[in-house]
């Protein structure tokens, strides 16, 4: 990826440049992103905040390759995300992305452990290695005793922790989370945020969308958005602990 290497300074894990996205809804175009720019260094923990409808989820989806940008460029670890086919994006996600949703999106037919093993196996980790690591992750996230349980039998907080474990299974370059505490009570929210804090300490790069100021305090940096644009896209000075990545 020669051109990407030219434009991306070393150590920058995510570069979003001039990204635009317009949705056609009910015959009226909705400009969800109007030229968003964002750069993240390795080991950063950024919290995206902004009013409802300003394009936070859209930005996250574009970074994850779940949707295609109309214009602009996104690179992750020097690899171009924009302009790829669905299958190329899928392979890119295997290597670089872990996602946590507000509503968990767990696979109901599988045990908690299987849910966590799956992304690692998809990414090419032999099952023999993927399983112990999945157990470690479940232990780390405090749901080690639920390995055999069906996701449907867990509480909301437990489900979200399981979802985070799954997002970490493929040792992603970038962990994305869209309002991960949105569906949880305050206690569950606290638990989950504590987890993110510890992951960040371990060196995991995290991009998280939230409405909650308290949640945002855990982050090393706050990214504000409004009307489809990023207002503050440069790293805050406070990031002292950009240590070695977790994986």
């Amino acid at each position: 990826m020669a051109e990407a290497e030219e434009t991306v300074p070393a150590g920058e894990v995510l570069v979003v440049r001039g990204v635009r996205k317009t949705y056609e809804a009910e015959d009226v175009p909705v400009r969800a992103l109007r030229g968003a720019d964002l750069t993240m260094a390795r080991g950063e923990f950024a919290a995206v905040m902004g009013p409802s409808g300003c394009g936070k989820s859209t930005l996250l989806n574009l970074i994850a390759g779940l949707d295609q940008a109309d214009d602009g460029e996104i690179t992750i670890d020097g690899e171009l995300v924009t302009g790829r086919t669905e299958d190329e994006l899928a392979r890119l996600r295997r290597r670089h992305i872990g996602i946590v949703f507000q509503f968990f999106n767990l696979l109901e037919g599988m045990s908690a452990l299987e849910n966590v093993v799956l992304p690692a196996v998809v990414a090419g980790t032999p099952r023999k290695r993927a399983e112990p690591r999945a157990r470690d992750l479940l232990d780390l996230l405090g749901v080690g005793d639920k390995a055999k349980a069906a996701p449907g039998t867990l509480s909301g907080g437990q489900r979200q922790r399981l979802a985070i474990a799954r997002a970490l299974a493929n040792e992603p370059t970038l962990l994305l989370a869209d309002e991960p505490t949105g569906a949880l009570d305050s206690e569950g929210g606290h638990e989950v945020m504590e987890l993110f804090r510890r992951l960040h300490q371990g060196g995991q790069t995290i991009l998280l969308v939230t409405h909650d100021d308290e949640v945002a305090t855990v982050a090393s940096r706050i990214v504000r958005m409004r009307d489809g644009r990023v207002l503050t896209g440069t790293p805050a000075a406070a990031t002292a602990d950009s240590a070695v990545p977790a994986g």
């Binding site: 037919g109 799956l118 998809v122 990414a123």
Partner: protein, 830 residues
């Protein structure tokens, strides 16, 4: 990294998880689809087996190609027949004067039993089929075989014993003198003769075959009429040559005899003709069985295709999560196909099991007893074709849906704007009651992922079901009309008078006064029926003579053109004309030899089946209506048959067949030693078969309604369960449990009404069209009728089915718990 250890293994575990989670649905869906498909395949295979039954029976019994009846047993005739050209094998049957006895006297009630014997060769070239037991041993005088009718009348079964007496001669069944030999015989076999199953009801005769050993040493006068079955070197191709030669031999022989001596007869029965007759008789059954089978198989395939598309959509949430986790669209498609493939493979296994299991119930109908290889049969062609349709089509549909969903990629995991239905919005604005609006919304908005309910496809299958239902009813009421209105199969008279088993004559000078004197006959028409030919093709000819009262109207039913008015004009059956490639208005040659003449076809008609008259038989669509002036074109045979050999009769409300029969046996028109028969309407066997096939109709209607109720119920249960979140919201919006129930019942009614509105006209058009085709093939009057009462009843049934199908789901809806629905929201994005 090897694909199978990485993403491939993930595909495997996702597929297994999907199968585990939906295993019950796979089994239940597979079993249901497989059952329907299996019944369909069984019926198609059964139709094929029934259709091929008679040819197989002929082959298995090593049947002869032609039968020649030379008259009474005569050694010279016997020699002549056996030396005819190309004869490979010959067997003969002879009537013998052997009568069943009880307490040393002949049994009068069995007067109609015709004891036969042979030289033993019916155990050779012409094998008699057995419905039970074994063939008799021609060397043992104590063994007999009887047909089922004889067994029933005489209360016999396998192993029963009976006395049989051999007489020197009988007069029409009444023995002359004392028995020359009395033997106690044992029934060793129940035989199935072709006549027992394929002929008109009047041809079915109780029969007993005695052993040639019983007749050893009996006087010549104990042997009567004989029949010869000939197997020829080149089969049917040799028949014409053999018959021509036999007619020549008979004519040469008869010239040497004094004038009043009968001589050798030239009655000929061609096996190929019999095969055609049988195939006509069996056709309605084969057609309806095949049609039902195809219908069931198509329904199963459509159900499967629809269900598999639905299964993929229901799994779409999981596959798109898997895509978020890094599966490519191809891999996601594979995951999506696991459940459909497992379901149709299950269905295929069940279908093969059901089809093979049911195969022992075929061939269907009374013909069954002729089956040379009864029991389980594997029709590889039908099974292979059925399985291919059942598996390939639904999997193809599932693959297309899965690929499309996978290509749409991860969109399933984003919040997409769902466009609400304009119809629902309009109804809501118009101020309809909330439960109705909710019903409508649940009916037309299919939902997504696990909340996906295939309401639209259920709506379509409901319409299809109602269409088939109405089609069945329209077709069935026409079938009933055919059975109840004899004019539809050409019978415009109430009955017929025949003498000497159809071989006698009626002299108008003595017959008409007798008819006119009777108060229980209010009309009559003299008819002459005989063999003739059109452009060289043999057929039955009918001439209509003097009449009185209603009799003048007892003519064939014209379906195109007009009736003949003058000598030189004829009307023919539709099939007769078709086989000659002739049309109304064409000139054809009537008769052969000296009497042949050119005549013009003025129309086609449905002709009444005139029983076995003089060894000929008119059929609804086969035969020719000839003016008296052209009678010379008939093949008349001495003192037999025409000019008048049938009297069509009109009955009064007080007429009694038994009285008429008794009086006719003393009629002045009878030749000495003969008797008369008065019949009611004579139904061609294809019409009887059609009527009996029609009796299966109620089962078909019940099945269709049952399937409709079940399909609706499953759908509504799915609606209630998959949309429990919607229901919970309705509840928070103030719906009472009663209103929730009403919502579901309303949905059931919406399905029923929508299906009726479209299914009724579609079904009527389809039913009438189908009937027209069927009637044309059967050769009866094709004009379709519409019976409204059963249609109205069916629609009421459809609405009731809608309510019934909604009952259980509505109870579930009333109970839908809010907490459970909220919990479900964690896994279902709605």
């Amino acid at each position: 990294m090897a694909w199978w250890s990485g993403p491939g293994s993930a595909v495997g575990s996702l597929a297994r998880a999907d199968l585990r989670r939906r295993g019950r649905a796979v089994m239940a869906g597979g079993a249901l689809i497989g059952l329907a498909a299996g019944i369909g395949m069984a019926c198609i295979a059964g139709a094929r087996r029934t259709d091929s039954l008679f040819p197989r029976h002929l082959a298995a019994t090593r049947a002869s190609d032609v039968e020649i009846d030379p008259g009474n047993l005569d050694p010279a005739a016997d020699r002549a027949i056996r030396t005819l050209p190309n004869v490979v094998a010959a067997s003969e049957w002879v009537v013998v004067e052997a009568l069943p006895m009880q307490g040393g006297r002949p049994v009068d009630t069995l007067r109609t039993a015709l004891p036969f014997t042979t030289d033993g060769r019916f155990l050779g070239p012409d094998l008699v089929s057995l419905a039970g037991g074994r063939r008799l041993d021609p060397t043992r005088p104590g063994e007999v075989m009887v047909n089922a009718l004889y067994a029933r009348i005489a209360h016999l079964h396998l192993g029963s014993r009976q006395q049989v007496g051999v007489f020197a001669a009988t007069d029409n069944g009444a023995p002359l003198g004392k028995a020359t030999r009395v033997e106690t015989v044992t029934v060793v076999g129940i035989m199935a003769l072709n006549d027992d199953v394929i002929s008109e009801q009047l041809d079915r005769v109780p029969r007993i075959f005695v052993s040639p050993a019983l007749m050893k040493g009996a006087p010549k006068s104990a042997f009567g009429f004989s029949w010869y079955g000939l197997r020829l070197a080149h089969g049917d191709a040799d028949v014409d040559q053999v018959v021509t030669r036999w007619k020549q031999l008979a004519a040469d022989h008869n010239r040497t005899l004094p004038k009043d001596q009968g001589g050798w007869l030239t009655f000929v029965h061609r096996t190929a003709d019999q095969e055609r007759t049988v195939s006509r008789a069996i056709r309605p059954l084969v057609t309806s069985l095949g049609a039902f089978g195809v219908l069931a198989l198509v329904a199963a395939v459509v159900l499967a295709a629809q269900g598999m598309g639905r299964a993929v959509r229901q799994g779409a949430d999981d596959t798109s999560i898997a895509q978020v986790l890094g599966l490519t669209s191809g891999e996601a498609t594979l995951v999506g196909l696991a459940v459909p493939v497992a379901t149709v493979v299950t269905a295929g296994l069940v279908a093969v099991g059901v089809a093979v299991g049911l195969s022992s119930r075929f061939p269907a109908g009374p013909y069954r007893i002729l089956e040379p290889a009864p029991g389980v049969q594997v029709d590889a062609l039908v099974l292979a074709a059925g399985l291919a349709a059942l598996i390939l089509l639904p999997v193809a549909v599932a693959a297309v849906v899965a690929l499309r969903l996978a290509r749409a990629g991860t969109a399933g995991q984003r919040d997409g704007a769902r466009r609400p239905s304009r119809l629902v919005a309009w109804v809501a604005r118009s101020g309809a009651r909330p439960p109705l609006v909710a019903s409508l919304r649940l009916t037309v908005e299919p939902g997504r992922g696990r909340a996906y309910v295939p309401t639209r496809s259920v709506l379509i299958s409901s319409i299809v079901t109602v269409t088939f239902l109405i089609t069945t009813i329209v077709f069935g009421s026409n079938l009933r009309a055919l059975a109840n209105e004899p004019a539809r199969f050409g019978w415009t008279a109430d009955g017929a008078l025949l003498s000497d088993g159809g071989y006698g004559q009626f002299d108008p000078k003595v017959t008409t006064p007798w008819l006119n004197a009777r108060t229980d006959i209010d009309g009559w028409l003299l008819v002459g029926a005989d063999r003739t030919s059109l452009d060289g093709r043999q057929t039955a000819g009918v001439v209509y003579g003097p009449s009185r009262g209603r009799g003048a109207g007892m003519l064939p039913v014209i379906i195109s053109g007009r009736a003949p008015r003058a000598t030189g004009e004829i009307v023919a059956g539709a099939a007769t004309l078709k086989s000659l490639h002739a049309h109304v208005g064409d000139a054809v040659t009537l008769g052969s030899g000296a009497g042949a003449r050119r005549v013009r076809v003025t129309g086609t008609a449905v002709l009444p089946a005139l029983g076995p008259v003089f060894a000929v038989r008119t059929r609804p669509d086969d035969g020719v209506w000839v003016m008296p002036g052209d009678r010379a074109a008939f093949d008349t045979l001495g003192s037999y048959g025409p000019p008048w050999n049938v009297v069509l009769l009109g009955f009064t409300p007080t007429s009694d067949l038994a009285v008429l029969n008794r009086d006719a046996d003393k009629g002045p028109f009878l030749a000495p030693g003969t008797d008369a028969d008065v019949y009611g309407v004579i139904r061609p066997s294809e019409v009887s078969t059609a009527a009996s096939a029609g009796r299966g109709q109620n089962a078909l209607i019940a099945t269709l309604l049952g399937v409709a109720v079940l399909g609706l119920m499953l759908t509504l249960v799915a609606v209630v369960r998959r949309r429990r979140h919607d229901f919970a919201i309705y509840r928070t919006l103030g719906f009472t449990p009663g209103q929730l129930r009403l919502t579901v019942v309303g949905q059931g009614l919406l399905f029923a009404v929508a299906a009726s509105v479209l299914g009724l006209p579609l079904g009527m058009v389809l039913g009438r069209q189908l009937w027209r085709l069927f009637a044309q093939r059967l050769g009866v009057v094709p004009a379709p009728t519409v019976a409204w009462p059963p249609l109205g009843l069916a629609l009421v049934g459809v609405v009731l089915a809608g309510l019934l199908g909604a009952l259980l789901p509505s109870l579930l809806a009333g109970r839908s718990a809010f907490a459970e629905a909220q919990r479900a929201r964690g896994d279902v994005r709605s």
